[in-house]
C-alpha cells in the first residue's frame, strides 16, 4: 500500500524528496527529509543558517548528492542522471542565489544571453528577448554594465532575469534577499510572486520570517536538517 502511494506521489508531484539525508564529515545537513512540491506551488523554506535549506536546494539541481534517499524531479531520480541529461534538467530550472552568482566578466546583456545560448536559442531570439526581460526587471539602463558596476538590488534583479529568461518550470531562490535592503527585498519578492502567478513553481529559501509574511504561501520550516513544520501560511 505504501509503495503504491509513493508511486502515485511520484506522478502527481513535481519534486519529491524521499527520505533524503546528507551527512558531511562531522555534520548532518539533511536528516531523513520527505517532502513533496506540486507544479505551480510557491514554497518558502525557512530556517536559521545551517538548518539545511541550501543543501535542499542543491539536491534538486544535483549539485550535491544525497548520502541516503532519493530526489525525484517529475518522477526522474536526478542523481541517477547522466551528465547530458543533468544539463538538460538544469535548463528547466532557474536559480537565484544570495550572492547573485553572475558572470563577472560579462555584461548584463551577456549574462542573460549566456543562459539563452545554453538552451541553443538563436541570435535573433536573444537580441529580441534580452532587452525585453531587462525591461521587466527595470534594468534597461544597465544593459551594457558589468555586475560590479551595479548595486546589490540590481545584481539580484539581473540574476532573476537570467533565471526566468528561458521560462523555466521551476525557480529556486536561495536567500535571494540576503544582501538587500527592505525596499529591494520587497521588490524581489513581488517579482517572484508575479513569476509564480504565471504558473512557474517557486522554491524560496530564506531565514527571514518577514519575507514569509510578504509571500503568504506554503511554508516548510527546517531545523537541524529536519523538516519540523509544513504549513499553509496564515497571515
Amino acid at each position: 500500500m505504501q509503495s503504491i502511494l509513493k508511486t502515485l506521489l511520484l506522478f502527481l508531484t513535481m519534486i519529491y524528496f524521499n527520505n533524503v539525508s546528507k551527512i558531511y564529515k562531522d555534520a548532518v545537513a539533511l536528516d531523513d527529509v520527505t517532502l513533496t512540491i506540486a507544479a505551480g506551488e510557491f514554497v518558502s523554506v525557512v530556517g536559521v543558517s545551517g538548518s539545511g535549506k541550501t543543501t535542499l536546494a542543491k539536491m534538486i539541481l544535483a549539485d550535491e548528492n544525497p548520502t541516503n534517499g532519493t530526489v525525484f524531479f517529475e518522477s526522474t531520480n536526478v542523481h541517477k542522471l547522466k551528465n547530458k541529461d543533468l544539463t538538460k534538467l538544469r535548463r528547466r530550472i532557474g536559480v537565484v542565489f544570495q550572492d547573485f552568482k553572475l558572470l563577472q566578466n560579462k555584461t548584463a546583456y551577456e549574462n542573460i544571453a549566456f543562459a539563452m545560448e545554453a538552451v541553443s536559442k538563436t541570435d535573433e531570439e536573444i537580441a529580441s528577448d534580452v532587452p525585453h526581460v531587462l525591461e521587466l526587471v527595470d534594468l534597461s539602463h544597465r544593459i551594457f554594465h558589468f555586475p560590479n558596476q551595479m548595486s546589490g538590488g540590481e545584481q539580484q534583479r539581473l540574476a532573476i532575469a537570467r533565471a526566468i529568461i528561458n521560462q523555466p518550470e521551476l525557480i529556486i531562490a536561495d536567500e535571494p534577499t540576503g544582501n538587500l535592503d527592505q525596499i529591494n527585498t520587497h521588490e524581489i519578492v513581488q517579482i517572484l510572486k508575479k513569476i509564480n502567478g504565471l504558473g512557474t513553481t517557486v522554491i524560496l529559501a530564506t531565514h527571514d520570517r518577514a519575507i514569509i509574511d510578504l509571500v503568504g504561501k506554503r511554508v516548510v520550516t527546517m531545523e537541524n536538517g529536519k523538516v519540523i513544520r509544513d504549513t499553509k501560511h496564515a497571515k
Binding site: L61, A62, D63, N83, K84, T87, K88, R90, R91, I93, V95, K101, L102, L103, Q104, N105, E110, F114, A115, E117, A118, V119, S120, T122, D123, R162, N166
Partner: protein, 305 residues
C-alpha cells in the same frame, strides 16, 4: 556551427577582458616558447659543430710508389659501392708530390733532399670519408677482407692510417654521442619544466574562474560550451606568445649570429631566417597545443558537476 562561432567569440572576449591575467599567461607562454626556440637553435649550433668535427675525420689509404693506377681505381670503385662511404678522393703520386712541395716550400732542407733523390718517393693515396664517424671501422675491415684481397689491393697498399687514428676516432665518436644524449636530456628537461610552468599558470587563470564555471554549469551550459572558450583563450595565448617569441628572436639571432660566425663559422641569424617558416610552424603548434591542452586538463576538475 553557431555553437562553435559563439565559443570562439567568447574565447576572444574572455581574453580581451582578462587584462592582467591574460597578460601573465601570454608572458609565461612566451617564456616557454622562447625555451623551445632556443633549443631548436642550440640543436642547430650543436649539430653544425659536431658536423665540423666529423668532417675533419677521414681515413687515408696510402699506396706503394709503383702501384698501378688502374688497380687503385678498381679499389676506389669497389669502395664507392660501400653504403658507409660518403666520399672518396684520389690523389695521384704527382699531385701528392706537388702538395708536399707546396706544404714545405719554406722548408729548404726537405726540398733539397727531395731534389737530391731525383724521382718521386711518394705514392698515390685515397682519402675516404664515411657517412658516420662510427663507420670507419667497417671500411677499414673491408680493406682487410677477401673482397679487397681479390682486387689485389694487398700488394699495392702501403698503409691505412685508420689504426693510427682509431683511438682519436673512437674518443670523438663517444664525445659526439654523449653530446647528443646530453643535448637531448637537457632539451627534454627544459621542455618539461616549461610545460609545467605554463600548465600551472593556465590552471591558475582557470582557478580564478572556477566560480563562474560552476555558475555556467548551473544555468545549464554544456561541458563543451563551458570548456570551449577557455580552450580558445589558451590557443590565443599560444598564438600571441609565438609572435612575440619570433619577433624577440629576430634581433637576438642577428646579434648572436654576428658574434658567432667569427669563431664557430655558423651564422645563427642566417639559419633563423632560412628556417623561419619551419621554426614558426613548430613554435606555433607547440604554443597552441600547450595552451589548449593545459586549458582542457585544468578545467576538467571543475566540470564534474
Amino acid at each position: 556551427m553557431t555553437e562553435l562561432k559563439r565559443i570562439i567569440k567568447a574565447g576572444f572576449i574572455n581574453f580581451t577582458r582578462g587584462g592582467l591575467v591574460s597578460f601573465a599567461a601570454v608572458l609565461v607562454s612566451t617564456i616557454t616558447l622562447s625555451v623551445i626556440t632556443s633549443i631548436i637553435l642550440l640543436q642547430a649550433v650543436l649539430y653544425f659543430s659536431l658536423n665540423v668535427i666529423k668532417d675533419k675525420v677521414d681515413v687515408t689509404i696510402y699506396f706503394n710508389v709503383d702501384a698501378p693506377e688502374d688497380k687503385i681505381m678498381l679499389l676506389k670503385s669497389s669502395l664507392e659501392k660501400l653504403p658507409e662511404v660518403a666520399n672518396i678522393s684520389y690523389t695521384s703520386a704527382d699531385e701528392a708530390l706537388k702538395l708536399f712541395r707546396d706544404r714545405h716550400s719554406n722548408d729548404y732542407p726537405t726540398i733539397a733532399a727531395l731534389d737530391e733523390i731525383g724521382n718521386n718517393p711518394l705514392g698515390a693515396y685515397l682519402n675516404v670519408k664515411a657517412k658516420e664517424i662510427s663507420q670507419y671501422e667497417s671500411i677499414a675491415n673491408f680493406m682487410k677482407s677477401d673482397n679487397a684481397l681479390v682486387l689485389g689491393s694487398a700488394n699495392i697498399i702501403d698503409k691505412v692510417n685508420y689504426h693510427q687514428n682509431k683511438l682519436v676516432i673512437d674518443r670523438l665518436n663517444n664525445i659526439i654521442r654523449s653530446a647528443q644524449k646530453l643535448g637531448f636530456l637537457i632539451t627534454l628537461l627544459l621542455i618539461i619544466i616549461s610545460i609545467i610552468i605554463t600548465f600551472n599558470t593556465i590552471r591558475l587563470t582557470i582557478f580564478i574562474s572556477k566560480e563562474e564555471i560552476s555558475v555556467m554549469r548551473l544555468v545549464g551550459a554544456s561541458k563543451m560550451r563551458v570548456r570551449g572558450p577557455f580552450m580558445v583563450e589558451g590557443a590565443i595565448y599560444g598564438i600571441i606568445a609565438t609572435l612575440v617569441t619570433l619577433i624577440l628572436f629576430w634581433p637576438i639571432t642577428a646579434w648572436l649570429g654576428g658574434n658567432m660566425t667569427n669563431f664557430l663559422g655558423f651564422d645563427l641569424y642566417h639559419y633563423y631566417i632560412a628556417n623561419l617558416f619551419q621554426i614558426f610552424a613548430i613554435v606555433l603548434l607547440s604554443g597552441i597545443l600547450l595552451g589548449m591542452i593545459s586549458s582542457f586538463l585544468a578545467i576538467r576538475r571543475y566540470l564534474n558537476k
